[in-house]
């Protein structure tokens, strides 16, 4: 572990690069999936089409996609934007299904009541459907976050500075320790992102903490397993 201390500057540098590359796809994935997920849930036809396209996009293997992006976008070869675009596509593809399921899990009675009281569709979306779909969205976002942080390492194969550098350099120099450091650092970044998401969930959806308690109490009273 001496190596870690000696090279801490490099490790920290690449960790920051990695974080900067991981965050935008996750955030964009969530935001962009909202309209698609909502549409997918609204109409049977659009659900089939949108989820089909999402499945297709997700099936594209990461490395070839990454290689193809500069040609498709006309960007420079080493531009990290290529990596961010590719990962955003994956994030959206993953999140669309979750978002659709999330909106589907909102009880129709609730939305109908909201409309009955006089909520406009727009206001109902933001203050009723979205918050209620929140927990499902959060669960899906956590999966997207983990997979995005892991996938960012592939960028090193095409010259983008990420923690994946340690895998390639360690392989080149027959240095397993370096690879392990890269793996551990990647997992730590994923854990931090996850913690941030859970925290955001608690802050933005305080009612979910309250929900859990009474259910347990009721169950024990009724004596069910």
């Amino acid at each position: 572990m001496n190596w870690v201390w000696t090279n801490f500057g490099l490790i920290w540098e690449l960790t920051l690069d990695h974080v900067v590359l991981s965050a935008p796809p996750i955030i964009a994935g969530l935001i962009l999936s909202l309209p698609f997920g909502w549409l997918a849930n609204r109409f049977r036809l659009s659900r089939g089409i949108l989820l089909g396209i999402a499945g297709l996009l997700y099936a594209i293997p990461s490395l070839p996609f990454l290689v193809a992006v500069p040609t498709l976008l006309g960007t420079k070869i080493l531009n990290p934007v290529n990596l961010v675009v590719a990962l955003t596509v994956y994030a959206v593809a993953l999140m669309v299904r979750t978002t659709a399921d999330g909106f589907a899990s909102v009880e129709p009675d609730v939305t109908k009541s909201a409309t009955a009281i006089g909520y406009s569709r727009w206001w109902r979306f933001w203050s009723v459907e979205l918050p209620l779909a929140g927990p499902v969205l959060l669960a899906g976002l956590r999966v997207v976050s983990v997979s995005t942080v892991s996938l960012v390492t592939i960028g090193s194969i095409v010259g983008v500075n990420t923690l994946g550098y340690f895998f390639l350099n360690g392989l080149q120099r027959n240095f397993p320790t370096e690879i392990v450091v890269g793996i551990v650092a990647t997992v730590l970044v994923a854990l931090v992102f996850d913690a941030v998401l859970v925290l955001a969930g608690r802050v933005l959806m305080p009612w979910t903490a309250v929900e859990r308690a009474p259910r347990r109490g009721a169950a024990s009273i009724m004596g069910s397993s």
Binding site: T6, G9, L16, V20, L78, N79, G159, L171, Q172, R173
Partner: protein, 311 residues
Amino acid sequence: MMPKNTSSRVGALITLGTVVVGLVGCSSGSPLSSSGNGASAPSGTITVGSAGFAESEIIAQVYAHALAINNIEVSKRLTIGQRDVYLAALKDGSIDLIPEYSGNLLQYYNANSTAKSGPDVMAALKNVVPSGFEVLDQAPAEDKDSYNVTAEFSAAYGVRSLADLASLTIPVTVGANPEFAQRPYGIPGLKGTYGVSNVVLAPVSDSGGPLTVKALREGSVQMADIFTTSPAIHDNNFVTLADPQNLIIAQNVVPLINSAKASSKVKAVLNAVSAALTTEDLVALNGKNQGDEKIESGILAKEWLAQKHLF
């Protein structure tokens, strides 16, 4: 419905967002961004790139540190990949400078060149480099691709030179990077120059690294392309096959640079570095980097510059 809760939620969201944006902004603005992924570094900054193998990275680090010591802004992009990829990056301006090897670069631009010796190769190279780019002074240091076999194989089949391969009756597999199938010094060269037709490539993408070495040692391949300055040849008692016809021409280390960034100061620095770089230096650096000590390329670069009392 309950404006208080909504606005407090929105407030929390904004706070969280600000914190995230602040952290992100912090990191890209930090002094560490000298190695960052900045899509386009401010003009005047030289972006040094390196290929996908360890020695290239060491030399690139030497260039980068030498320039930095002389107060030239530097940014680095390491492990870009192989020649086709990093030359494309050079062409589109993603990088400005990369350490190259005279012979291979010459053959990349002109596969039919007949230059063999150091000076001839450099002269020919200066003529074929595309306009807008140039090669600076070459270093005495040389690192060549080389065909290697195990000592046992050499003894068993009497193979000491590439010329001996044509008379081998057994099929031969050579472990090398995938592009070996197309390089002039690779499979096509073996066929063309030495008449060897029964050679098959086993692609191992580690530039003569530990996997290739292991494959050669264990017999999964009979030959392997290992760089001459790699410690593995000596450590494993490999026999480097002689090359009487100079299939592999002179390979002096030379900086390839975007002319727009090649100010007289930059040239002076890089030429001073090149003048001091010897083959023995490369062997020693590789030994420390890939051998037991596993010292990082950046640290080695600083040590080497200090040791040579340059700047």
